[in-house]
Structure formats: structure tokens, C-alpha cells
Amino acid sequence: MLQIRCPWCGPRDEPEFRYGGEAHLRFPGNEADPAAWARFLYYRDNPAGAYRERWVHTAGCRQWFHVIRDTTSHRILGSYRLDEPPERAR
């Protein structure tokens, strides 16, 4: 069970959160060409190592935020708010 630091509430156990997949995706808009649209809908980065991902504190403040997590160890390198750059992760 992970322990995740919500930037608003502090460290909490994983069951309070829901996973939101890859962070910093850009919604391509409804004008996207078919390839770009399929890429946005179905393709997510899936690296072995540090991964910037989204979580939402569903059973807490309900805020979305970003986490940098190592997918090979589950070590969490930091979390940061949506309006902060990854460099602000802590």
C-alpha cells in the first residue's frame, strides 16, 4: 500500500486516492487528426523508472495533483500541485 503526499492534506494511505494515469497530457482538442486523437485516447507513457502521474484525493480534499513515482520500486520522489512545475515536487 502506497503512502502518498497530497499537496493539500499531507501524507495519506493509498485507498484515499484514485489513480489518474500519465500527467501533463495535452488535450488535443476536437480538431485533432485521427492519429493524434487515438494517441491521446489510448496511448500513455509507461516507463520503468520515474513517472509523472496524476492522482486525485477522492476520499479527502478531492483535488487532483501530480506525483513522481518510480515504477520499479514504488518509491515516491515527490508530489506537486497542478499549478506547480515538476521541479517543485517534494
Partner: protein, 920 residues
Amino acid sequence: MRRLRPGTATDPAKPLSFRWNGTAFDALAGDTLASGLLANGVRVVGSSVSFGRPRGVMSAGLEEAHAFAQIGEGGASEPLMRATTVDLHHGLVARGLSTKGTLVQGDDPARFEKRHGHCDVLVVGGGPAGLAAAWAASAGGARVILVETTARWGGALGRDLELIDGAPALAWVDRITRDLAARPEVTALRRTTAAVSLDQNGVVLVERLPETTPPDRIRPIRRLWQVRARAVVVATGALERGVVFQDNDRPGVMLASAVRSYWHLHGIAPATVVLFTTNDDGYRTAFDLVEAGVLVRVLDARESIGPVGEQARARGIEVLSNAVVAGTRADQAGLLAAARFQAGRRQGEWPCEVLAVAGGYQPLLDLPAQRPDQSHRIVGAAAGQWSLAECLLDGLDAGVAAAEAVGFGSPGPTRPVVGPDWDRSPGTTLWQVPAPDGDETRSFVDLHRDVTVAGLDRALGAGVRSVEHLKRYTLAGTGIEQGKSAKAAAGAIASDRLGSEKPLGVSTGRPPTEPIAFALLAGRARGDLFEPVRTTPAHPAHVAAGAVFENVGQWKRPRYFPRPGETMAEAVAREARAVRTGVAIMDASTLGKIEVQGADAAEFLDRLYLNRLSSLKVGRARYAAMCRLDGTVFDDGVVMRLAPDRFFVTTSTGHAASVFEWMEEWRQTEWPDLEVWTTSTTEQWATYAVAGPQARTVVQSVAPTCDLSREGFPFLGVRPATIAGIAGLLARVSFSGELAFEVMVQSRHGLAVWNALLEAGTPLGMARYGLEALSLLRAEKGYLIVGQDTDADTSPIDAGLGWMISDKDFLGRRSLEMATHRRSDRKQLVGFLPSDPAIVLPEGAQFVADPTQPKPMTMIGHVTTSHPSPTLGRSFGLALVRGGRDRIGHIVHAPLEDRTVAVEIVDPVFYDKAGARRDG
């Protein structure tokens, strides 16, 4: 073996009795089941799984591979408990097992509970290193949790006579534990095993609490802790390992440290012992037992026996150097009778009751191995510190460092003086003594699983080169103790037998370190407490009215309200008729409700929903639906505009949470510039649908000041109203096609308003209706239920909701423009009429065009909703059919198990196509 004196663990003032395999035995408080059996001379505790050989207690701890027992009776009977880790209590009932447990039907009165713990430093292990670490870590005020798997503090100090600061080590243990008890921030738990390592320094603990026979119904017998620590110190110590030799499984072959442990803790000793050791530490057993008057002889595997061996000789103990046990001899019962040895060229046989084997220590690292990348501090014997002085210093240093790492200082602890110290280092490494006759079929590597050296040879001969294949081929290390005693030996012996190749290593241990009862994992989440039940404010009234409930997610919703003697079909028909011809009321409070507010609320909803909601006028409602990004139907509901910047959105019951989360996701992550807020209000409102030609009369009587006239309160109007004296909302929306009002009041008034509406309806014979009647009524109108009449492929166009799509942008629009969504053979929602109006097709039945086609048949659609309709006087239904709209007027076929039913595809609206009845 027998009890010669009370040990340090047992209390002679507290005798108790227990039953083993039907026989009553006496023992003392402080005994384990294993020590109780040994004290009573029980040498055989079970038989081996594959060969049926008799087996006896071989250890004094969690590495036990033989002594398994079924504990307790009836539903509280627990299989496969290790006798070495079960504390005896008066009246305990146990019987021996080989490796197969038994499950017993019956009530289990025992309670199991869970608890969370938070601390700065968690110290796992209450031996010398762990005690020292906990003491040092807590000295500066850090919150410390210290856990010890056995019933006693001190670990090896209970069996190893050591001096600390000039006094017996147990006095030091007492002093430290008293200090810890006096520190309010310290939680010290015995009989508690760290079982699972979680990410971010979490550890799951299993705490065993006192048990009684018969079981207590009040006090829990076990507690599952989930601890979050800021730092973890692992001081789990080391386990002594045996040596593999021929017939090494006889009852009487034991670990040397276990023999010593039974003597010191429980006062139990055999009459004669042969010690087979590879190291100095084994001699402790010889020295301690000699003092008890036991005849001890020593076989030392080393070329040179060293000073300790010489000391033994000086004390009159016979010691052979360069000596190994080559095998054992058994008596007629299969019990150990003698150790056969080989010492240089000398061969011989020493009779003995116990053959104590000291193969060196091996760090117990199964907890940190679960999360090898965590920064746990491993100290003491677990870290390969082989002297008490090193263990204590290691523990103190780790305690100070752990406390400092999380911001607590520690007064420099005084360093205890140990003396004289013993060397616990492994001595010479000896995994196996080859069988003199070459027959390795009785040289047991995994005593629990009956895996022999011959079995390893066979695997290697088959081409096995990985230790994991070795485990799977032979099953070595797959037992209850997960090969605590066997895994390393299997890997080492196999490597040795392969010769030059690289070491095979050790197979991976899996969590938990100790077996955990399912009942403990479930904790209180059983029976009525399994999962919360969500009920609406009017629930008590539904219960009183005899409703038959349906689980919809966590909600309890009335399915129908049978009158005495009525079948479901009869009740549903009656309820539906009441809506069509009179009036009826339904509890719709489970519908999801979301308030959307803010200057950009309308823009926000426009982006989410297919239809344009910014054009909705205040005081008006609109049926709306939304897509997922892939263009499939996500949810539908009614959106009401209460003010220019305030919308009241309803969702289907099952999607209340997901729609709300969807809104929040887009609001926060993509559209933070919009000035809009959402709030889930599902549980704040009770919602009742009063439907039927006489609905207006009923509602008017509870809302006398409200103009409910056709002109004054048109269809899809919404307005505040006082209902039965309660301020609420009224909306003219209808899911049945009849004149209907939705009454919404705050939940706390819900029951009162429900009762008031019922009372108002009584003169008109108002019925209650449930989900079944609702499903029938809405299907007659062709209204779909998302998730029932749509699936993960259904687009709004397929579902007949294409009319909602406006020229604005919305989520999912891009997908709907893809070619696949314009194919004419997509499954579309249509109506159908069975050719025989008495036949009600089962929901889920498939349609084919050619009923004579052999299987596999080409399926073109399936029934999503099917009912007998009292209003239509016949059966009917909705279906998703390939190219369905083009098939209207055509016949398709539903091949059922016993017959094939011809079906006409029709328009999905069966009742009041003109929509005249909604105005009453």
C-alpha cells in the same frame, strides 16, 4: 525429554492442562504447545507428507518444519499452527497434522480486529539489538513501536547465558523493558510479528492476544496493525540452520539452540545428547546441559576444535574433531536411537535421545526482502553481527541514527559491557554430509516438504539451473514456514552438486513472513459490517410497507411492493397500472445530484453534455446526456437551472460518483480558468416521483400554495415550493410518460414528506412503485437506462439520442466524427415485438437473421429490456440491433434454448407516441 525444573518462561504456580490427540496433558503457564508436548515425553508429533515417516519437534520457533497442529474445535478450529509458536492456555485442544489442515463447519465466535499505528521509529525484533535500538531511539522522545514475535523480550538472551554490565543479561532486558514501559511514546508489543512490508515504510503486524477455550466473544484474539513509521529498524535476528545428513528427520534430531532454549525457558532436557556442531556457539548447548546432569558428547565438524572445544574436553565432555554425523539409527518406533558418525577414519555410533545440530546462524531477512529497495536499517544478528557486544552497539547506534533521521536527538547512550562474549559466527560452512552409502533419498533438505538431496539431483539432471525452477520442480521451500530452514540449503547443496557453475542463490520469499488467518485479514468486515448499506430517508417506510429490495451498488432500492399473496409479476402490473390510470409514488432519492455553480457554470455544462445547456432558462429542466471521450454513452439525467449561475444536475444512481469525479477532473485539470464549482448533493436531497393522471391532485394537496396548473407549471418546469410545510423543489419531469411531479426536499425531512404524500394519495388509492414497474413504464416510452440499454460500444447516436447533439463542442465529439461511428451496421437501440404476444423474451437473448444457420450463428443484436405490458396487453422490449433502424418492420429471430421466437423490429416508443399524457 522431561521437565527437570521450571524454566524462566514457565510459572510453576500456574499449572494448566491441554489435550493433544485426545489425551490430556499437564503443563505450565508460559509453555508453548511444543514445550508442553516435550515436557510430557511426546516425541512423535506427526508424520511426513510423502513418506509417512514419524516426525518430532525440531525447533523452538517459527522455523519449525514438523510440529503442526489443528488447534481448537468447531468453527473456531484453526489448521496448521506451529506447535512451537502456540502459547498454551488451560483447556486448549490440539491434534497433530502432517501438512494438510482441516476446515470445520460451525460458528466461530472469535473476534479479529484491525488497527492503525503511526510512529517515528518502528523496531522489529525484541532481542538485544532491537531492545537497544528501541531504547536509544525513544530516549529523545521519538514515538517508537517495538514488536517482538515471541512471548518474551530478549530474543536469544533467553537461552544464551550472557553477562551484561556484570549481571545476567535478562536483568538488562528487565531494565530496558522497564525503561521503555515508562516512556509514554513507546508502544512495546510482544507476540507480534511484522508480516508484510509496505511501500513508504509501512509494515503490517500480526498481534496475537490471549485466547481461551471456549473462545471469548468479546475480546479480540488477534489484531492486524498497519503501521506507518518514519524509520524502520529491522532486528529480526538469525535462525540456526541444521545440516543435511542421512535420516536427519528422525524425532529427536533438533537444532542445538532449540535444545538449549527448551532447557532454559521451560526446564526441559533430554537424558542424553549428541551435539553435532560446525561452530563454537553449539558448545553452549553442551555446557548448559552438562550442568543439568545430561550426558553430552560432541561431534565438531572442524579440523581444529579451538579453545572452546578444549574447554569442553577440560570439563570432561567427549569431543571428536573433524567429525560429522553420517546418519542416524532409529528404534522400532522410528525414533532417534543413535547418531552414526565419522571422525576422520573413525566411524562409530553414539546412542542418544536428542541429536542437537548446530549448523551456524543465518540472518532472518524475510521482512526486508519483501521491499529490498527500502531504506530499512538492519542491525544485530540480522545484519551478520555475531557477538552480543556488536549486536548491542549496532542496535544503539541504529536507534540513535533512526531518531536523528526523523528529527529527534538522543542522549549518547551508555554502552553496555558484555562479558565474556561468545562468538556466534558460522564456523565452518557445512550444508550436507554425503550419505556414506550414496543413498540420498533419506537426506532431507526440506523437512516439511519431504524434499531430499536425491530430489535435488533429479531436478539438476533434468536440466534445471535456476533456483526458482528447483523450488517448483522439487517444492523445496514452498511449505508453511516458506523454507525458512530449507531454502538456503536447497540452493547451496544444488550449487555444490552442480560443481563449477555459479551459485544458484536463494528462491524469493513472498509476503507475509508468517501465515495470517483469513478472518484476521477481513477483520470486522464480515457479516453486517462487510460493507455499508446506503438507505434513503424513506427506507423505514418502505420496510414497513413490505418492499422487496434490490441491491443497486451499496443502495437498497425497493424493487416492488407486493400485497399479501401477490407474485412479483402481479405486483409490478398493479403498480404500473396505477401510474397509467391513477397515481403512484416512487422513491428516486438514490439518483445522483450535483450542484454546479458559478459564472461559467453554463459554459462548463455545455462542454460536458451533448446538448446545449447554456440556453436553458432559469426555472426550466432539460434531459441531457454525456459521452466518454471515446464517444460512447456515459450517463444521462435531468439538468435544472435554478439561477443564471446555478444548475442542479441529476445522474443515474450508479454513476453519481463517477460523473461527479469526471466533472471535477475536467474542472481542475483542463479548465481551471472557468469560474465554476461542483458539489455532490446526492445525500442531501430526498426525491420522490408522483406519477399518473391524478398526480396533480396529490401534489396540490400537499403544496396548496403552488400553481400546478398545466399553464402555470408546464412540462419541464422547476420551481421552489413548500411541500407539506417543507421548503423544497418541484419539477415536472417524467420517466414514465405520465403526468409526473418530482418532489425534492432536504433529506432530514424526507420521511415526513414521503408519509405526507402517501397520506395525500390515500383517498385516490395511490400506489407505491418500485424499480421493476419503473423499468416497464419507461421502456413503454422507449426511454433507455444507461448501462442496461447501452453498453461500452453504444454511442448516443446508436442509442437514439442523436437529437441532443448540438453544433457546439463537447467531450467525445471528436470520436463521434470518426468513420467507425458512421457505419450503418452499428448496434442501434430499437423496439421489438415478439410474434407471440404471450412470450416474454429473456433479457440478454440474442437475435439472428437466419434461424437455420448452424452454430456459431451470426448474432445481430440482443434484448436489453423485456417485459409483459399490462398497458399494451402484450410482451415487448428494447434491443440493440445491428443496423436496427433499417430493420424496423422486419422480422428477426431469437433462438432460445428450447425454441426460436420470431420478433418484429419496431420503433422504440410503444406508448403515447405523441407525448400527450405527460401534461395530464
